[in-house]
């Protein structure tokens, strides 16, 4: 019986049923499940959504519904988390923004939601973010990953400027950089010295998990 609730949460999110997902989450809370277990069930559901999107069964509208359900549920759970004092294990910390001159954010926002749903802590710098603000954010938040988004061939060049700014401040090696957006390619990511290219919100999650692991290993080597 107990595990049924968690797999019901996973399934109803995977099937994009907002009402059922909320009901099962409330039920799970009543039954005394820990927030972390509920969030993991949601993450499992998100993974199914991502798989279906990759297979062409789900579309962007479905990713948006999934992220809406997730946000609704988090607004129910968050007070619980702070009340219980439970620290939700963080897979890593990400600072993300759309580069200078560019105001497109739908893709970026989907990535943010998927990252949060998968246990990452995300600081959203918004849109039209100049290099110096990325640098300030790295100094302030000490993230594992810096994510950059651009939709235009004319603004994607600003990604290189951010990487150069991080190098200049001696911060480049303390983070992993992932880039994404319609005109971005694997080749472009390599040319500008990024660590990874994320084709869409779904593949970005797995890549970010790998990047965090890489960074941990690199940091351990220094001891």
């Amino acid at each position: 019986m107990s595990l049924d609730v968690l797999s019901s949460i996973k399934d109803s999110l995977a099937n994009l049923d907002m009402d059922k997902t909320i009901d099962f989450v409330k039920k799970a809370v009543e039954l005394g499940f820990k927030p972390i277990d509920i969030i993991n069930a949601l993450a499992d559901g998100m993974r199914v959504v991502g798989d279906r999107y990759e297979r062409g069964e789900y579309f962007v509208s479905d990713l948006i519904v999934a992220s809406e359900i997730f946000k609704e549920v988090m607004s129910i759970l968050e007070p619980l988390i702070t009340r219980v004092g439970e620290v939700v294990r963080s897979f890593g910390r990400v600072v993300i923004g759309t580069v200078e001159g560019d105001v497109h954010d739908i893709g970026k926002n989907l990535v943010i939601t998927m990252l949060r749903a998968n246990g990452f802590e995300v600081i959203d710098l918004g849109v039209d973010v100049p290099p110096k603000r990325f640098v300030e954010a790295v100094k302030q938040y000490k993230p594992d990953i810096v994510g950059m988004s651009a939709l235009l061939t004319s603004t994607m060049v600003n990604m290189k400027r951010v990487i150069e700014a991080l190098e200049k401040e001696g911060l480049r090696n303390s983070v992993k950089v992932i880039v994404g957006g319609a005109p971005i390619t694997e080749k472009f990511a390599r040319e500008i010295g990024a660590d990874a290219y994320g084709e869409n919100a779904v593949t970005a999650i797995e890549i970010c998990k790998k990047l965090v692991e890489e960074l941990k290993r690199a940091k351990q080597k220094h001891f």
Partner: protein, 430 residues
């Protein structure tokens, strides 16, 4: 054999082979050229230097001069052209100035010079007022907030993207919708009158095929009212609200289409509708959702055109829209644009093979994400030849770039593209 541009375009739309593939640069707001790219092109070609007339403020598109139309052998123009050949019928706007509150009376043919942040002197229509801020410029259209261009930007971003004004963002019930002024979308009679005169003049005094757009925009209009992503989830989780929103807008759009068609039917060969349903990787919505909300409504609008005129229906939909093409053919669509060949599933050979006899491809002339801006002219030529070889046979093809030509595209690539389209586009294609 001398063939007039209008005949050439009509033959292509009838799925017959004219003397060569017809060419479009600048007839629509999705087959045009950014003012920066146009400025650089004119300079490269050694043409006279002049300030550039802006015909689409959001996208900063340039009106294409007659010399360039002739150089590139363009066959189709917009009825609302503001450079020769143009109809002598101005439309007067009256509005309160944002700058000083005075009552302004300006024609849509009056311009003023403005130094755009992308480094070009452009001519803005006088019904657009621009106010400078620290980080950019704000544009007002006839007294209403329109958009903002950042200091190092190339376009005026619409209000929904700046999240300043999403009018229906907080609507919860069908009743809330009554407070919105849906009539603001209704086209005024005097504007339709001027449109008809312009079309009649250009029909009688030029050989160009004539285009008018947009007759109606449905999905995208609602996205701008409700929020781009929120509307997509409305269609899945708030269906009755979604139906009500569409019903309200559709009533006005239907009215507009009837007015446009009646005014233009004897003069205009191509009437344009547009709604971006795609993304890079797939449609935004499923075919099922499309059928539930949009298919029958578009059918109704298309039937107005078909019952009252002989005009061909042009539909613009960016991105990966392969599954929708069959749906559109079902409801009588004649022309699909831009044919974004870089998007998933939009393979030229597959598209021509499956749909080539039933629909005209207007676009698909060059990959504008990777080839046109970044390749060498030789590579552009080979690439364009390949695409013409695939799309042109049997007619049903009008050559155009995939969407507007952007700043930073090397002028030599633009020249290579249109030169190849003209020379290699001669029938029969070798």
């Amino acid at each position: 054999m001398f063939m007039r541009p209008r005949e050439r375009v009509i033959l292509a739309l009838k799925h017959e082979e004219p003397d060569r593939v017809p060419i479009d640069l600048g007839a629509t707001s999705v087959t045009g050229i950014h003012a920066r790219a146009y400025h650089d092109l004119r300079k490269y070609l050694g043409l006279s230097e002049k300030s550039i007339k802006i015909i689409d403020v959001e996208q900063e598109l340039a009106e294409v001069d007659r010399d360039v139309l002739e150089l590139f052998h363009v066959d189709v123009v917009n009825v609302n052209r503001v450079l020769e050949p143009m109809a002598p019928h101005p439309y007067i706007y009256r509005f309160a100035s944002v700058v000083d509150g005075s009552l302004k009376e300006v024609s849509d043919r009056e311009f003023y010079v403005w130094r755009a942040p992308y480094g070009v002197d452009v001519e803005m229509p006088k019904y657009i007022e621009i106010v400078e801020e620290t980080d950019g410029f704000i544009a007002y259209i006839r007294g209403k907030l329109f958009g903002k261009i950042p200091r190092n930007g190339y376009y005026f971003w619409g209000l929904d993207r700046w999240k300043q004004l999403i009018p229906l963002a907080n609507v919860k019930t069908v009743d809330d919708l009554k407070k919105f002024d849906w009539d603001s979308y209704r086209v005024p009679d005097d504007y339709v009158d001027v449109l008809g005169r312009r079309a009649g003049y250009l029909y009688k005094n030029t050989d160009y095929a004539l285009y008018f757009g947009w007759a109606a925009v449905l999905h995208e209009t609602i996205q701008s009212l409700r929020g781009w992503d929120r509307w997509l989830s409305d269609l899945r989780v708030r269906r009755s609200l979604a139906e009500a929103i569409i019903d309200n807008l559709f009533e006005v759009l239907k009215y507009n289409v009837e007015k446009y068609v009646d005014a233009l039917k004897d003069f205009v060969q191509v009437i344009g509708f547009g709604d971006d349903f795609g993304t890079e990787e797939g449609p935004q919505i499923s075919v099922q959702t499309f059928r539930e909300f949009y298919k029958h409504r578009y059918e109704e609008l298309f039937n107005i055109v078909k019952k009252r005129s002989k005009a061909y229906i042009f539909f613009h939909s960016c991105g990966s829209v392969y599954p929708f093409i069959k749906e559109f053919i079902d409801i009588g669509l004649d022309i699909i644009n831009p044919v974004q060949i870089s998007a998933r599933g939009m393979d030229p050979e597959k598209l021509k093979k499956e749909f080539g006899e039933q629909i005209t491809f207007w676009g698909g002339g060059v990959d504008t994400q990777h080839v046109l801006p970044l390749a060498k002219p030789d590579e552009v030529i080979e690439h364009v030849k390949k695409l013409i070889k695939i799309f042109a046979p049997g007619g049903g093809y009008v050559y155009a770039s995939v969407h507007n030509i952007q700043p930073g595209v090397p002028p030599q690539n633009i020249v290579a593209m249109f030169k190849t389209a003209y020379e290699y586009g001669k029938y029969p294609i070798r």
